[in-house]
Amino acid sequence: MSRLPEVLESLRESGRKAVIPYVVAGDPTEALTVPLLQALVASGADVLEVGVPFSDPMSEGPTIQKGHERALAGGTSLRSTLAIITEFRKHNQETPIVLMGYANPLERLGYAAIADMCANAGVDGLITVDLPPEEVEAMNRELQRVDIDNIFLISPTTSDARVATITAQASGFIYYVALKGVTGAGHLDTAAVESHLSLIREHTDLPIAVGFGIKDGDTAGTVAKCSDAVVVGSALVDCIADAAASGLDYENVIEVGAKLISEIRSGVNLATSQL
């Protein structure tokens, strides 16, 4: 049973905007992921987004690509990602977890098996970058069977007609891709984001998370004003990778990631406190 609807609804009622950090499972090592996720929650994360390592992450920019490569080099797969979630759930039954990945690892294990494995591990939602509405039906059926949300992406190029189709099938929340481009790219046009979100809201009451291009407390705060949640991916993956590469021990690497999420949390709270 997905935790997303209840958690996001209670956040909305309390006026709190969700902070959603993204990390790649097994990056830089498998042993680090569970304590890192715990520290991110302690620093103000409301939902966790966990990347499933894939050999060909076509929508990722160089930063997250490298995260996938490090995780694969350490042997992390979809199966071991689910083992990581199972471990995390021993100590945390509250925070929703969304897996973000690509279709082929799901296809390889089979949609029905994956849905069951995700439910058993305590996953709440799935984002599959290369399963647009046209290709998602079989997967969606299996996810609905086990009450896991399928999170759809909407982008600046999505037509109004497509927004209607997508929101009709969506549950959990909508993930708005703020930029044409790969993760970690370029400059965010917050005015454009705001106008797109109001168009999407004409079709759905689901919470809308915004990702791609959020780097720090300021951008997060600006985006949080018009959205329900902000996703921080490349900036977090990057600072963790830098800390690990500089030879810091695990606790300090985790501390660096947690500090960024604290800053994002403060930026979001500051920007949205008068709303």
Partner: protein
């Protein structure tokens, strides 16, 4: 025997969702969906448009030099002793391979869409050269993504692209070959989708690419069919073509699919041997999955990670294959076989010496299998091999394998 084409199931694919049976489809990020729909709508409106077809045909005739000859390789056939072998001479096209048939077609689409910037992925560099060529002719900005590994082994084609005004971007992620070049091209497209046309070089990728590339390349098979009838009074008994992504093979095969008497062989890169794991033969040893926008046979591990491939030929060094080939394999219409690096190199040397035709290393895989096939046939039977490209680009690779120092890097 009837030699007329009739309406058939092979003309019904892909369906409206871009599927060939369970294969194909549109497995891409949401950002690209509108661009694909726009391309599909444009192509559907133009494919039966007389003016568009006339423009395409005129370019093929006057710029590419079509029709390409069908040549009987009599001396080679005699040496093998068996069926007669004919070569469909795509190596004589402008730029030296079949790739240009498709880039001409897609460049016309780009022109109709008003796109000023084109991108392409390339393995051996033939598609990159063919893309850079049409871009030069139409005055379009051209960026070609090429794996760093391939940039090294296809240095001549890299320089050709630069001379044509294209920017060649070495791709350093993953296995640094064709699959990674395609990832990077997709990343570029998602970023610059508003002003950019992505010229995909093979019958893979998301719908409508497998369909439109097949349609543009089918000129090969249409000509070969007519030429076979004119030269021998009958259809060929067998067709042989190499298969990486599979565009030259589909181009030859497609117009013959309804001709039940014509056997077809798609030859994949066996690398060091299909049983060694070091190859690029997904139809021979792969499992269906999703990569680069379509569902198809893939070389992948038990976790669904795409495996590194190996082939002496950069153009075949790809872990996937066009979805229509996956369908043709499953329904049993085409036989998919393989030839190793060693067999391909031997065929490269033999055909060069016996016929004075130096084939691309990709093509040499088809030649290697055709030798075995011809030996089992009788003199009243004949094979058409798609001589898909010329081998000039490969001479450094061949020299290095033969231990010869040419003094150029």
């Amino acid at each position: 025997m009837s030699v007329e084409m009739s309406p058939n199931k092979y003309a019904q694919v892909p369906d409206e969702h871009g599927r060939f049976g369970v294969y194909g489809g549109k497995f891409v990020a949401e950002t690209l969906m509108s661009a694909l729909s726009e391309l599909e709508a444009l192509y559907r409106s133009l494919k039966d448009d007389a003016a568009f077809q006339a423009e395409f045909d005129a370019d093929l005739a006057h710029y590419v030099g079509r029709p390409s000859p069908l040549y009987e390789a009599a001396r080679w056939s005699d040496m093998i002793g068996g069926g007669r072998i004919f070569l469909k001479r795509e190596d004589l096209n402008h730029t030296g391979a079949h790739k240009v048939n498709n880039t001409i077609g897609q460049a016309l689409l780009a022109k109709h869409m008003g796109k000023k910037r084109v991108i392409a992925e390339t393995g051996a560099g033939q598609h990159g050269v063919a893309s850079a060529t049409v871009a030069a002719r139409l005055g379009l900005e051209c960026h070609v993504f090429m794996g760093e590994e391939d940039v090294k082994r296809q240095a001549l084609n890299v320089y050709r692209m630069k001379l044509l005004g294209a920017e060649v971007i070495p791709v350093t992620s993953g296995s640094k070959t064709l699959k990674d070049a395609m990832n990077e091209a997709l990343r570029d497209w998602v970023t610059y989708v508003d002003n950019t046309f992505y010229i995909i070089g093979t019958v893979a990728g998301p719908h409508p690419y497998p369909m439109l590339v097949r349609d543009f390349q089918s000129v090969i098979g249409r000509e070969a069919r007519a030429q076979s009838l004119a030269m021998t009074g009958k259809l060929p008994d067998a067709l042989v073509a190499c298969v990486g992504g599979g565009s030259n093979a589909i181009g030859l095969f497609h117009p013959f699919l309804a001709d039940e008497t014509v056997a077809m062989y798609g030859v994949e890169a066996g690398g060091k041997g299909v049983d060694t794991g070091e190859h690029a033969a997904p139809l021979s040893a792969g499992i269906p999955g999703v990569l680069h926008g379509n569902r198809t046979y893939l070389m992948q591990d038990e976790n669904g990670q795409i495996m590194h491939t190996h082939s002496v030929s950069a153009g075949l060094d790809y872990p996937g294959v066009g979805p229509e080939h996956s369908w043709l394999k499953d329904i049993g219409r085409v036989n998919y076989v393989s030839a190793t690096d060693t067999e391909a190199l031997a065929a490269f040397h033999r055909v060069t010496r016996v016929e004075g035709i130096m084939p691309a290393l990709e093509t040499a895989h088809a030649l290697a299998y055709a030798e075995k096939l011809a030996a089992t046939m009788t003199p009243d039977q004949h094979i058409i091999i798609n001589l898909s490209g010329r081998g000039d680009k490969d001479i450094l690779t061949v020299a290095s394998i033969d231990g010869i120092e040419l003094g150029i890097e």
